[in-house]
Homo-oligomer: 238 residues x 2
DNA sequence: CGCAGCCCACTGGTCCAACCAGTTGACCTG
DNA sequence: CAGGTCAACTGGTTGGACCAGTGGGCTGCG
């Protein structure tokens, strides 16, 4: 027997999801006017308040412009949406999952590589020790990719924590959210993520950081994360 | 006479802002329970619906966990908030503006440098031409920093557009939003942003991109944006 | 006396209905 | 025909009622 916890979804969440999908997929073009709240409420078969809760969130995402008295209009999401919208792009089916995966991997590479450098440069002794400890928590060889996800998160979180850069910290959260949305089932299927299992490389990287070898840490991190980028790029080409 | 357009702020926006500020500033600690919606409505002096609209957005920002029947609890924003929360950090006064500025500048450096590389590698002819055109639109010498903001945005937008990386595109939006929130008054006051005015360097960079010199473009972009990072770092030290 | 189990008070979720407040354009007036 | 007026939209706000989970206190059985 396979039990999954029931997921009770709030109506406003459903409305939000559908509106976002309409916009990101381009079915609602930029500058186009949305139906009025009352009409949306009728069409969705829900109360107007639910529509408003959803609409406010769509606005927060930078996807529409709401103005009292006037109509609510769609914005060009590429020019106005924030990085947090990344994860919605997947579920909206606006872009092929593999492309989003590649984009995430590329951003991760440059951000994490720089983080490794900064961490080596200015992290405290405790923070650098934490990085090494996280690296050593990596499972040995035979572990499956799924089992490596946790330790990998811990490792990079420790590195980024060592930089003291909030933007990197929050950016990591967003990228992980986007990645999760794509689902690492895709990752497993494609045989991506060899890098994850490379325990030794992570320990080497941690040592470089502990030794304050900023340049070396930067180089190794870039190489390490570049592997994933290359794999995805290869998968796309097929 | 100095006329500023009146800004009519929705009550739910005010509530949202205050709640976010309470959380980001740490006055509401993680795992702490928020007052009930009915009590919040009474304390803010607004209707419960307004509270709910705000609360839903706070949830979307990853700052609270809402559960029907149970109480709404605060989350650890460093571990759960997305990059879009960056701009709120400023207005909430959770962190010194200069630190946020530094963090943004650092992230911009690594992202934009990588974007320059990728753009040189794989942008179409039209896209690379657009980059060059944007660079040439830079004002000459005597322009003030404020006047350079527009052209600078255009230039980097063109570069990132050339990479075809959505994550970079959306990330740029978020970083700019955060930067704007800090207010470039701070930037001007500190005499930061010499880089902005360096028209020649941008044209050189554009040429490297047009010539598909990925490594060269990466190096120059990193140097160019690194100037800002260094300036801010120096300002912080004082 | 101890504890299982019920029950109610409290949480958030949804709905209905009304009214306020800007925006817009059709229409009427001079 | 130019101008101003006003009514019919738009979103913004309020009140109140009720549904639906949660959790702790109380009750009553063993």
């Amino acid at each position: 027997m396979d039990i999954t916890p029931v997921t009770r979804t709030a109506v406003s969440d459903v409305v939000f999801g559908q509106l976002v999908a309409e916009i990101l997929s381009g079915r609602l073009a930029a500058e186009e006017a949305l139906p009025g709240e009352r009409e949306l409420a009728e069409r969705f078969g829900v109360n107007r308040h639910a529509i408003r809760e959803a609409l406010k969130r769509v606005q927060q995402s930078g996807l529409v412009r709401i103005s009292q008295g006037g109509k609510t209009r769609v914005l060009d999401w590429r020019a106005n949406a924030g990085l947090d919208t990344l994860s919605q792009l997947v579920s909206a089916g606006a872009l092929p999952p593999l492309q989003i995966l590649r984009d995430i991997a590329e951003m991760r590479r440059s951000v994490a590589a720089d983080a490794a450098r900064l961490c080596a440069e200015r992290a405290s002794d405790e923070q650098r020790a934490a990085v090494l400890a996280a690296a050593e928590s990596y499972p040995t060889d035979s572990a499956s990719i799924a089992d490596t996800f946790g330790p990998d998160m811990d490792f990079w979180t420790a590195v980024i924590e060592g930089t003291g850069n909030v933007a990197y910290r929050l950016g990591l959260n967003t990228l992980v959210a986007g990645f999760t949305e794509v689902g690492w089932q895709t990752v497993v299927d494609l045989g991506l993520g060899e890098e994850y299992v490379d325990r030794d490389a992570h320990i080497d990287l941690a040592r470089l950081i502990v030794d304050r070898d900023a340049a070396g840490a930067h180089r190794l991190a870039e190489e390490l994360l570049g592997r994933t980028v290359a794999r995805i790029a290869a998968a796309i080409k097929e």
